[in-house]
């Protein structure tokens, strides 16, 4: 099946000279949840904004549902819904009007039954007559989603859907995104939370300084991300790792004061109990221990150093 979004050689250089995107190629499959992962300022929002028509690309092409986003922008944009990161709303408008307004803007005739369904799905039905300024932050976010869904798009962009949202609401949001996917909508979301990508996405793209440095199935990426480290602060410094501990492939750090064991957090047997038993058999004492999971930051560092080594 043809990809629902196809991006080729996309680049963006802003007027000030800042190069926000460099030669990005990406295909989004119909019906998937794709997470664009990267630190702030990496180019996630620029990429989304280009596809949605808010930012003009410097080079490259994009098609959405088979339509070029520039030459055939009407057909392309009709298929796309956008939920921006910031809560941009008309504070004095009631929920029902603002959602109906969005549907009209995208060229669809009024359809109260559809608006009703969207509002009910988003638990906004009771608030349909409330003015937006009277709603909580989480509710406003839902109104933004309702506006984006009002014209029945096939593709939904969610820019940082859970930024500044508390844990409980974040769970609700994840649930909502899954329901949307079940209804057949392709979802592209950006996030800088790795758990969010892990929780929801089928595939993950990592973007850094305007470059898409990796696109992978979630499970494959999670294996890479699943590395954890156990650091043992030794009671007595040692010169070298004893041969008896060779099978754990330990690193000796901090001038022989720390032993570091890298293991797979997802594996059933991680080797920690056996390592600790062997150490006690050998009479190697430790005064403290800590585990550390690779953060997104570490992954970036390792991805980049892998890239430059190759």
């Amino acid at each position: 099946m043809d990809p629902v979004i196809s991006i080729r050689g996309l680049g963006k250089r802003y007027a000030g000279g800042h190069e926000a995107l460099k030669n990005v190629d990406l295909d989004i499959e119909r019906g998937e949840i794709f997470a664009l992962l990267g630190p702030n300022g990496a180019g996630k929002t620029t990429l989304i904004s280009i596809v949605c028509g808010i930012v003009t690309p410097s080079e490259g092409t994009v098609t959405a549902a088979g339509h070029d986003i520039v030459a055939d922008y009407r057909a392309a944009r009709t298929k796309i819904g956008l939920v921006p990161q910031e809560l941009h709303t008309d504070a004095f408008e009631p929920v029902w009007s603002t959602v109906s307004f969005s549907r009209g803007l995208f060229g669809k005739p009024p359809n109260p039954a559809h608006i009703e369904r969207v509002l009910k799905d988003l638990s906004l039905w009771d608030k349909r007559k409330s003015k937006i300024k009277e709603l909580s932050g989480g509710m406003k976010r839902r109104v933004m989603i309702a506006k984006a869904l009002a014209h029945e798009p096939e593709i939904l962009f969610l820019d940082e859907p859970t930024a500044g949202v508390d844990v409980e609401l974040r769970r609700d949001m994840w649930e909502l995104v899954r329901k949307l996917r079940e209804s057949g909508v392709t979802i592209i979301l950006t996030t800088h939370y790795i758990e969010e990508a892990e929780e929801m996405a089928d595939r993950i793209g990592v973007i850094r300084k305007g470059e898409l440095i990796l696109v992978e199935e979630k499970h494959a990426l999670m294996e890479k991300l699943g590395k954890k480290q156990l650091t043992l602060a030794l009671s007595e410094p040692m010169d070298a790792v004893p041969d008896a501990l060779a099978e754990w492939q330990l690193d000796l750090r901090s001038g022989g004061n720390e032993l570091v064991y890298t293991f797979d957090a997802n594996a059933e047997r991680n080797g920690i109990p056996s390592l600790l038993r062997r150490m006690s058999d050998l009479g190697i004492g430790f005064k403290d221990l800590a585990t550390h999971q690779s953060s997104l930051e570490d992954i970036f560092v390792s991805l980049v150093s892998e890239g430059s080594a190759a």
Partner: protein
Amino acid sequence: MTVGRFNRHGVWAIYAFEMHRFFRTIWTGLATPVITTSLYFVVFGSAIGSRMNTSDLGVPYGSFIVPGLMMLSLFNECIFNASFGIHMPRFTGTIYEPLSAPLSPFEIVLGYVGAAATKAMAVSLVILLTANLFVEVQILHPFWMVAFLVLIAATFCLFGFIVGIWAKGFEQLQIIPMLVVTPLTFLGGAFYSIHMLPEPFKTATLFNPIVYLISGFRWTFYGKGDVSVGISLAMTGLFLLVCLGVIWWIFRTGYRLKS
């Protein structure tokens, strides 16, 4: 289902949204011009007008100023409504929605400018009705009166749209109407015939573009203007084209709308 050549639902959504905003403040929106017009009639019509020599105007002074008063408020209403209409979504950030919608620049402008022009023309007509209570008003060329009203409203709303895009803040929205348009209107023969002026002011006034608009509009009422109606019409058309050209450039380059 795809959008055809013209996104009429989209244009209507913007138009209705803007009109709804006007209706929320309809009473202050209409009371202000009525009260202002009445004050002008009290001050200019009764107090000053009775001392004016109006023999070469052909009509009493009170009647003479009606077209000028309508223009004065039309200019201000057009610029205020159109500039606010497009500036507000830029300010709140909701502009992302029309920009990402399947709307052509023409359709976006049509929605915002159409609504602003509707409101401004409604206020002008209210002023005409109010004036009717104070003085006798006749309209010799009703068709041309409506044509001038629509053309000038469209032109100044386009101009207001440009101001709304150009302005970096709300205070800048006020600068153009207050520092440029109102003075030019007062000096453009809204309250007098430029033939009453001595030289060199009479010639200098001809460089004021507003003169041609007011003169043409007054011609549709009383069949007499400061300059010939053909020139007035040509100048109105010229301003319209200039504004359209600037807006075409704005959307082409994305000036202050898109990066």
